[in-house]
Subunit: 902 residues, 2 copies
Amino acid sequence: MKRVFFFGEGEAEGAGLGKETLGGKGSGLAEMTALGIPVPPGFTIETGVCVDFSHGASLDGVHAEVETALARLEHVTEKRFGDPEDPLLVSVRSGARSSMPGMMDTILNLGLTTRALKGLAGISGQRFALDCRRRFLEMYGDVVLRVPRHEFDKTLAEKKREKNVTADVDLSAEDLTDVVGRHEKLIREKTGKPFPEDPREQLWGAIAAVFRSWDNERAKTYRKLHHIPDDWGTAVNVQSMVFGNRGETSATGVAFTRDPSTGERRFYGEFLPNAQGEDVVAGIRTPRPLSSDGSGISLEETMPEAYAELLRLRDVLEKRYRDMQDLEFTIEDRRLYLLQTRNGKRTGFAAVRIATEMVDEGLISEDEAIARVESEQLVQLLAPVFTGKEKEAAVKSGRYLGKGLPAGPGAACGQIAFTADRAVAMAEGGNAVVLVREETSPEDIAGMHASVGILTTRGGMTSHAAVVARGMGKTCVVGAGELSVDAVHGHIRARGLSAGEGEWISVDGSTGEVLLGKISTQPSEVLQVVLDGSVPMEKSPVAMAFTRLLAWADSRRRLGVRANADTPADARVARLFGAEGIGLCRTEHMFFEEKRILAVREMILADNPEGRREALAKILPMQREDFLGIFREMGGRPVTIRLLDPPLHEFLPKEEEAVRRTAEDLGVSPDAVRERVHALAEVNPMLGHRGCRLGITHPEIYETQVCAIFEAAAQALGEGVHPNPEIMIPLVGARGEFDRLKKLVDETARRIAGNRVNYRVGTMIEVPRAALRAGRIALNCDFFSFGTNDLTQLTYGYSRDDAASFLPIYIAEGILPEDPFVSLDQYGVGELVSLATRRGREAKPGLKIGICGEHGGDPRSIEFFHTVGLDYVSCSPFRVPVARLAAARSALAGATAASATA
Amino acid sequence: MKRVFFFGEGEAEGAGLGKETLGGKGSGLAEMTALGIPVPPGFTIETGVCVDFSHGASLDGVHAEVETALARLEHVTEKRFGDPEDPLLVSVRSGARSSMPGMMDTILNLGLTTRALKGLAGISGQRFALDCRRRFLEMYGDVVLRVPRHEFDKTLAEKKREKNVTADVDLSAEDLTDVVGRHEKLIREKTGKPFPEDPREQLWGAIAAVFRSWDNERAKTYRKLHHIPDDWGTAVNVQSMVFGNRGETSATGVAFTRDPSTGERRFYGEFLPNAQGEDVVAGIRTPRPLSSDGSGISLEETMPEAYAELLRLRDVLEKRYRDMQDLEFTIEDRRLYLLQTRNGKRTGFAAVRIATEMVDEGLISEDEAIARVESEQLVQLLAPVFTGKEKEAAVKSGRYLGKGLPAGPGAACGQIAFTADRAVAMAEGGNAVVLVREETSPEDIAGMHASVGILTTRGGMTSHAAVVARGMGKTCVVGAGELSVDAVHGHIRARGLSAGEGEWISVDGSTGEVLLGKISTQPSEVLQVVLDGSVPMEKSPVAMAFTRLLAWADSRRRLGVRANADTPADARVARLFGAEGIGLCRTEHMFFEEKRILAVREMILADNPEGRREALAKILPMQREDFLGIFREMGGRPVTIRLLDPPLHEFLPKEEEAVRRTAEDLGVSPDAVRERVHALAEVNPMLGHRGCRLGITHPEIYETQVCAIFEAAAQALGEGVHPNPEIMIPLVGARGEFDRLKKLVDETARRIAGNRVNYRVGTMIEVPRAALRAGRIALNCDFFSFGTNDLTQLTYGYSRDDAASFLPIYIAEGILPEDPFVSLDQYGVGELVSLATRRGREAKPGLKIGICGEHGGDPRSIEFFHTVGLDYVSCSPFRVPVARLAAARSALAGATAASATA
């Protein structure tokens, strides 16, 4: 079986094999080669070799194939590996199926032995050759020989200090000879051996090191965050070097075929003259723009032929890949080479706009557009932005720090952290954190993840910080060069202002502005169109794209989408976001309202049903108004109302002062209040006297709530609204509980509203026993709604309130793959969901089944609920668009899977 | 299909049909008739009619059959129903498959119309006829016409007061004419109609009422307590009357073929001359003995022929039924009739002794002996008895109240309650209660169940109190006639002593003695033989029977039986009771010991692993000694040791004073202690940071415990003991948890003891997810042990600590059939148990699986665990004999079921 694939001179052995085998980079190189695009020739060792290697296999099995490919490479380039005259130099790079920017290792200029150095010097100049050697020693030393990178940096810095220069380019050939000598000495000292001078030994060392880097810590963290399986492995690409650092007619750069931030259809990129690729990505030098902006330094102006060629290739690649591409290119002596093409990472804004515009351009179908936008990305479009007035005021009051590049849209306001570790620690303490760095590196991943915003003072739109932040959907400003960051002493300075760790900073990722202090936020542009109506749709390309994409999604999804909403205001938002009903209206929130809590407490203090009824009579008209408002808002859409769920003690005052005030307000003694607090206290409230247990021991409470619902429904009918209440009994674990309370609901409904109101009575499935006994419970039941929050708590035996002491450790150490409260545990909790669904429907064909736990807004959970065959998901109003898209993506994925197996 | 079965004159249509169809009484009457035993003729309407009737069917369907049977009865008795000259009178009685003494209704003398009254008077005398009519009016009025019984009682009492007499028999015919008239008037007033004079109307009214009584409250309560299904129904027996109240040559009585209290093989019974059956059972008159005791009033002395005939029938019946029989008989004019035979209720003592002695007599097999003893009955044999010295001292100090009949063996010490309701209320408050009554009635069932002992001042060994208490295994003394009870004013008096509600009383059910105050208890006779060795086996028939029965059980059971034991002392008891190992050794109990708790607190207060290790080093030698003691005690038997389970905060002081003392002892500030208490506090400790979660976040704790285990094991090896520790990881919910901790155990074991100690590492299955994921968890696991306590808590979502506020209501109202913490919920929790067992064994054939929750000692749960195929159950040491017997009974029941379906 072939495991090494050559590409070059218009031929690519791996063309069509795809990313699974060749990795993203290898696949791109093969495809581009096959398209006739100028790509330096080379070969790819497939991902399977990495998997075998990480399971302990040796690389001997690919030895012969690599030799064959290397020979062909020598033939094609007309150079020989290790040739002292005109050596073949290669890069060795990783390339996984899914892009993991900067996570794994790369080695450039490999093959540049001491002997070859002289040859290269003869051809390309002494200084260039020495700089290549220096870089090679640094990268190989670090990656393969494990000599810490900073030791090399120190040597270079020392030399610059000695020579009193600041830039690398100011070092002479003589200086570099000295640096190279010191690097070689360092390696000899640290490893006990001289630097390997056999180019093949270099090559195999590099290949093994890149494979090994698949399992380094930062790569593992990245995979965990992005749900990339550990067993995909990376490919290794060995490619002949081209040099962007061969003087001023050379350059290296990156480009996006469309704007990755807004999605606008414009060619967008950056380059550095006389530089190697790593210089751009590392963000150390601030790059120049590709397209003319009048500055005179753009590629369009300085190398117009190369720019024109790039523009041509941009169209070729978009047609070929039918997606926005992220390109890496090098210009060597005015000759353009593409080194990489891949689908570009983009913000949610860009994703939505590119997808819909590509449909209009005939590049992709509507189904593909849906598949192109990750459901979670929509959240960015709904995230708040800074309030214009407040921002102005902040500027006027002298809190403006400066401006960088708007690399990740959104408004982030948080406390400053100067290191990733501090960011993680502060975020764990419950703070909103903005990570402020000169530049970020792969080691900062966890800190970036923990922050609400990222600010760097160096780097461009394609720097590490920008790319990673876009992938995470974080607000990000990069290259804010006016600001100076001193991480050691922990402060940031600009324009005479200064701030330290923990101080508040506001970062506008849509404009690049940075301000000290907090600035309040306002609805995003999409919200101003969709919810407020304050901006007309036609003025907002992004809102238009958003609306069209969701309309396409709606026509493809099978799952219904409802919202969890407790008030008419929430119900309105839900409806405007496209919710088809309310899947969970929690009545207890109404009990907590200031005016009502006193009546609720009076009810709890009464020690007999009559006293409770008296107090409940005061609450009834208020609850009726709540429900009436929601019915008016939702019209004929179903509204699932959950009867009281929390234990009564939650409504009682806890602090001594509150106890006294309550006693006074109710005209009872403080002792009476204290006694009741004491009597109702529970060891494990989560497992206590709540939900339907309360409904059974205190039937007058549920009866009052049901009265309020049907009185409201009757009144709504009078107003011409035809409400569809769905009464939901919480925490049922045995059929007897449900049957008894259904009877109470039915009798009360008949008494209040006769047969006039359409309604259903159902139950939450949130106790494991309810899932197991679903077949019995279903018999008398109109619907199920999975309460996956409690079901997860009980299936794992985790209290959400207490799990913080061990759950993060479990996830960090891989004992659990992820937080089961965020994404449904499909193996444990999920089995109960699918089992209850099957048993419920077997007992009662066509039983309506939904889910109203927080997993209802999580795309991966939604895919599971689609697969299991639920009728709808219900989530918070702001997640409704996400759920609509996720439901459509699940339906399309299912259709694809089905047609693949048909 | 035939539904009415005639019996009489040696022929019985229903002979062989059994209790399922005819009920216990009907079946007995048919069998006895077929055996040629003198039984008044009659017919039985089968139980299925009751079931249909309670589902709303009319009785029309059996009308023709009843008429046919009635005609045959008239033919056989040569009397006519409603005949004014010589009327046929019948009794109408219930009779369910399982005896429910006194729970359902009975009507005697039916057919005694006003016209027939005259005929009967002509034949049997005016007074007798009137007394029969009076009783008929009372019973029919109460049962069929729903006129409260006490209204009739009032009339009778008034009449006696008017005539200044105390006994019914002192009322003249004239007086009775007046009483009958008043009764008839009362019925007319209460029902608005005259008393029905059509005998057929009377008959159908009575049949329907008896069927209805199946669903009265007390019958339902009784069924719930005794796990009798509601859909069994009762049969109705219509039988020609014989009269034990036809003067001094007539009598009525009950007899047991062996002593129901001790099991001794002696004929035992009581009778009343000139009385009807109800008089004996009601306990109003104190009955006379059957066998001669020198008093001259025994049946043997007063009616020797009838006595001799009874003795003969006793043998006939024991041979036929091969079990101890409980007989009802009536002597009418010196002629003996048996009215009922059934297997007699007996104490645990009697059950064990009768079963083993019947094997010796060749009446039954060993298998049958095992089936004859309810596992739970063994508890009585192990219950403590009063300490002789203390009882003597109490007598000497003048606390002796008197003596009654020893109706239910055991020693009960509790607070006095004078009504069943108060007994229930006081017991719910957590008190030990002794119910003190003149006599008990079926309405008192719940109160008797709630009490630890029952004391009555009237009635004999076959009175309601005695029969029911024996059935419940309660300590009981009846007929303590010296004592006078005033329930209205709430006191009991005797010998110048007096006590009120809530005062302590001690009741010796083995001797009949009653004393005021508390008396401490000592081990029962069986314990003195088996555990103490202070009484030799051959001196104790009951200990011998107990030991033999359990030896038979051991040779038949498949399930292993282990004990839950935390100390060497417990381990010893477990071993002497026949435990084959320890199924659960909880290590946290060791942590609580006074000397150790300080080191434990020091460990918890340390905020780093090193500090914790230092404190743990102090605990280690103590734990090692604990384990060594247990290994020595158990020898090579397996000892399952559970690593630390509770959350750390359980070990910290709670009260301010304790906080201060702890701070002082540890040399830290009280604030430091308070801070830690606060930091570790949890909202739901049951779902918090405990079990293996603690083991993962604080590995040094588990490591120390494992060190202690293996150091102890190594030392035991040196002493020639070959311990078999089984290390159990608690609260596992995901495979990663188990694998990580297994590695820690294995590494520590190897470090401490090399390969010298045989051990296993397994997990508790107590989190629903562990049951669902058992197939994965099993892969690396040596054994499972179900922790059914926590599994029940999590499957239902009930906190045992908090469920008291609703669980009793659930059970009382039938929402749950029983407390799932007492007997395993086979449908919900049980499904998880069987699923985990299947998946575990599929993944790892032969996986060893046990259960160590409290259900391990519950006979019905044990039957389930047998059926599911577990390897062993583990229970508290004192339940080990119960579990051994239950396991054998399950195996035999399974074998029977298997051969029945083969």
